[in-house]
Symmetry: D3
């Protein structure tokens, strides 16, 4: 949110997401949309708010993660909020203003956009409240942005082979790169997994598929698999003319991008050439 003055901010509402839809409905009825902004909620609540659960299910999902109920409180404008260090109450109307430029997960600048204004009418602070800011392009930003896609990719890959783990790596901004760990049962499985991953998360740009003996969370292990199990002409799959992430500075003028999948698994039936000594 970009501070405009002492009681107004500009905020980007992504088209099709819940708040954007709710605002559209309110404005269609000639009303403003009452909203509340919570800062410093329980991490499970923050995390739940970033997932793609159906409208109105976010708090329920957070409760599941916490293993119980979540208490809510009603703001003066009627909005229900969970426990938070800071609660801001207000309204969104039809007025737009220049928002940004903000830094996105790639660390580069987003364009300036015309976005709605939030007008705050009240603020609630806990005693000794903690201000929890999520830095644009920081690790928390990346993790919260990518988190919803890891299970989506996992489920999609599970439809084509036996998947063990899926990671959206920090080096890939938590969004553009995936490491997928599978247990191959046929030689072509990794390529099937790559296509399943690209179908599950269309912003994904690069995917590496690894075996069970490689730790997906250790970048050096993944690099080791690429060093010793990849033959460039056979194992690198380049897809041109495909939709990718608009955050990627490499996007072409026609709106397409280029994706690359790398099969860094051992050749089935030749495992003994690849297996590492243990002690």
């Amino acid at each position: 949110m970009q501070v405009l003055d002492d009681h107004r901010v500009a905020a980007r509402l992504v088209e099709g997401r819940h708040t954007h839809v709710m605002l559209g409905k309110a404005l269609a009825k000639g009303e403003k949309l009452p909203i509340a902004v919570t800062i410093g909620t329980h991490p499970a609540v923050t995390f739940a708010s970033c997932t793609r659960v159906p409208v109105g299910k976010e708090l329920g999902f957070a409760a599941e993660l916490l293993g119980g109920e979540i208490a809510v409180r009603q703001c003066s404008n009627g909005v229900l909020v969970p426990d938070a260090e800071i609660v801001l109450e207000g309204f969104i109307g039809s007025e737009l203003t220049a928002e940004g430029p903000f830094v996105d997960i790639t660390g580069t600048y987003d364009p300036v956009r015309q976005q709605p204004i939030i007008e705050f009418t009240g603020m609630h602070l806990k005693p000794d409240f903690i201000y929890h800011g999520i830095l644009p392009g920081g690790d928390e930003h990346k993790i919260l942005m990518g988190a919803p896609y890891e299970p989506k990719i996992y489920r999609a890959v599970a439809g084509v082979t036996e998947v063990k783990n899926v990671l959206l790596t920090k080096g890939g901004c938590g969004y553009l790169h995936a490491v997928i760990q599978i247990k191959k049962s046929t030689q072509g499985d990794a390529k099937n997994a790559i296509m399943a991953a690209f179908a599950a998360h269309t912003s994904l740009k690069h995917v590496v598929v690894i075996d069970e003996d490689i730790d997906p969370c250790d970048p050096l292990e993944v690099e080791y698999a690429m060093a010793t199990r990849v033959r460039g002409d056979r194992d690198i799959m380049v897809i041109t003319g495909v939709r990718g992430s608009s955050l990627d500075p490499c996007q072409l003028d026609d709106g397409t991008n280029v994706k690359v999948g790398v099969d860094a698994t051992m050749v089935l039936g030749h495992e003994k050439d690849f297996l590492r000594a243990t002690w």
Copy 2:
């Protein structure tokens, strides 16, 4: 089923499918598996038996298709069967025999395999019964084999763009070729759709993606789209080293195959170059 003598046949039970699993359980308990073969059931029942619904849900699914209940009858070995022209009762034991070669959907011969023997103990015929045989490699065979995958592909493509129709074509044996009709909203959508389709049906070999104005059910229309909307270097996507259908005679020795996706849609923003005159 291959007739061995006047009361025994050999039948292929595909690994992992329901009958194969049930036989395994029976044999593990030292028992034979009581079974019944129905010939000439209601088409909705035949169709339902070919879908991939969970164990025991086939009749329920057929009932849904028929909009009501399905009456069942108990065979003398305890197996429940729906209404059929011919019902054969019997048992499967542990004995195996050479089965085949049978013709598969591609019209070529499957290998001979060691498969279980069904021993029949009784037969029920309706008066003036009709024998409904499904010819191997015939149209009914192709349709029943491909049918379960069209909705799977549809759902997968719907996850990446707006899908209008999905067809597994007869020319592709109802199994190896798909035509996918989409409404593009970004230039790269067709390539995303191709990968989603390959992920949804791993036996798929070739996919063509078309626009809304092309009839997916008319092979000449689809060919027309390829003639006028494909530029070979840009719109043909070749995936090597990937798992495909074992029924394809082109499968390589290492068990992989090669898939091809074709984007036969108009270039977004240049629709006027491609649109056809109407009268």
Copy 3:
């Protein structure tokens, strides 16, 4: 021909074709070109007029097709015409006008061009005459346009291998797609046939080569060959930067296009993997 008023039409005279050449000669001498338009001639005459026989040989060619002589009649401007339902007499001069846009075989609109005007001076109608119009982009248009090229391709392919049949398919607008049926005697023959076809008909865009057991006139059979006998990395030949048809909406800005040839024949020496069961 585009009607301008009650006695004048605009007509496209393609550069280098007979009428265009004759007009050039007449204008060079300061004369108008006397012409006649016949509508509703014998199909053999119509067909002959679309072939690429040398100047003045069209009627002789039609006569050959009919197995005898063709009677001609002299118009008042001296032009000889065969029997026709309608005969229009007139002249072409040096004046140009905007012609079009007309619909071409692809069903899309040709550009508007500056073309000569035909001025009619007389008309002859048979009693109860039939008006035989050839619809732009209709099947007759496609067949008449493609017909001259099938024997050209046949002869060219016969120079490199044993050719059985050549078809310019309706799905390819009778012009852009060929199916070539050959009897292979070496493994590479199909690729040689593809190049021969592209050399014989430079507007050709896509070619599929099939075996003797596939019916080239049945699109589903040709598709079947592609489903079961093509391995995308080996059998698809993409030629960039080559001259194709200017009617193709995919033509690049520099006037080149991209051609694709597909070898959908069985691998020589492995026919048994591909042959279909017969009954």
Copy 4:
């Protein structure tokens, strides 16, 4: 011909060529084939004997080249021969023997083959006769082998664009490499010319297409065109899996080969960037 003893030689009769056909007919009638070998004929006769004119037309073709009649003489076995330094008379029967290894145009060894034996019954020598031997793999061998294909390629390329010259180069053994000089009228012409050439001479392996200002007979000029007018990613066309010459040591095990065409012409419309200074 390989000398076996003082009156017999082994000679390769290529399947389908005239002598091979005539021997087949004679043997089918239970007869030997009477033949004569002429050494040291007029160059026009030697050249004519290497062309692909119909059976029995070689001498007539030679006469045309000489601008008149050719006198012939009858051997004692009835065979007619033109004027020659040496004439050997004899018969070919059904007996075969090991022939070779001889050196072919590439300078490498052909395999040893089972071939017919020629039994000589007489010899005629001119006074002070000259023995004219054609060295295997020498320049005369290359020129005589390639000569028939230059006009075939010329005619084929003339069907797709304006051709100025065709040369089978000495560096390409007079058989495997062609230089084709054209006058481009559209940007893609060179690629069309390449395919026409490959269709006209299926043993051709590499083709370079040049502009009118480059001398096709000067290898340094052709190399200059490649140095300054080729962009490797755009102008090199590689055709795999195609039939080529069995004389090429690079032929693959499946009998296919790989052809390469190079467009070394200027980009149409950018001639000024490429034209050379003159003085």
Copy 5:
């Protein structure tokens, strides 16, 4: 060195390296080669012994690194040795034995080879000596093996563009992967740098070229550059049929391998699209 019994070990002498050459000379004179093995030398000495300095210059190179002289001691067999925790004296003769399998830098097993035997005749230990073992496939092994190549690559890249840093990464076993940091002055520089690196270290398999703002020593930074600055069709260079490292399990049967270079630099002139926000 592989212990054979209480005074003999087997040791691999790589063909062409100094000890191998010296042994060849000694054996040619009918003599054994006197040698000494030092364990636990100053790190500069260990490092120097792994570089590719000319014969006999290793100790001088170590001295330079240490900024002074190095004292040496003469063994009883005449060999001069630097200060070490353990010194083993002995001889190598002509006898060979099975050596290995040892683990190499990739962590996989080398083949067993026939190698010379070292026969020890004496041992010197410092009081409270430290045994310094270099674990096969451990970090020390990787660093010592790759170290000599970093300056070689640096110098080679400096010949084609402005190089800032070169790193053989730990994930690439200190030997197979390089990260090269350059300051581009023309758009193509990264590809020139890639070829220079492959020429300087022929065992190199994969190279990534990065800009000055990316830290080559931080794998996440390098991955970030690949995520945001690589377009797969333009920036990945695959070289097939080239000699690589025999330690790579992906080496083909014909002894060649496949190398991949990745240009992960910003497009020159478009730096503003790629630059990261700073705070």
Copy 6:
């Protein structure tokens, strides 16, 4: 040098070369640069002046080539010159003028550039002096331009395999094409040699690698190697997006070019298929 009037010429001083650097230093001190132009020096001196030896070493290098000392004479402006047919003395100042267009080694025109003016103040002529002009784009121009790069390439290739000869061919303007003769010891050596050559001479565009039995100086021999030892899909290496020579008219708008390397060597272990008969 372009004649402006009877005592002034315009001359191109390439950025970074010695005279350009010296002029920069003089101008920085507010002085003109005294210079002398020698025409008709000993060929060794001319050759030495074109090499890339360090500043001030050219005459010493020429002396080495001549096997002795070189006498120099002092001009009236203090510049030392070797023996020459014509010596022109003068100064370069800060004034610029339009220079060109001159013809470069490719025979095409360089652009017109703003370059310094040389003002001549004196001239010395030998009696019966010979004017030795080097024609732009002539053979002498090409040889002098390419000569310094042959040893650079030789040394670079020697670092990756056993090199026998390196030639910058006349057909490649003495600058853009290299023929490299090697003695392969592993199958991939030629590709390593290609990359080494491209790294050593970044203006190089095309490289052919040949075996020891092929004469690199005979274009027909090199062409023969390409005809019989190249398989297009395996032996042609295309590098896109790389810096090449700005003299090449094919250079792309972004300043990159495309390089091609051709491995025209025999397949190791299959030499007998390729070796030529000798007599």
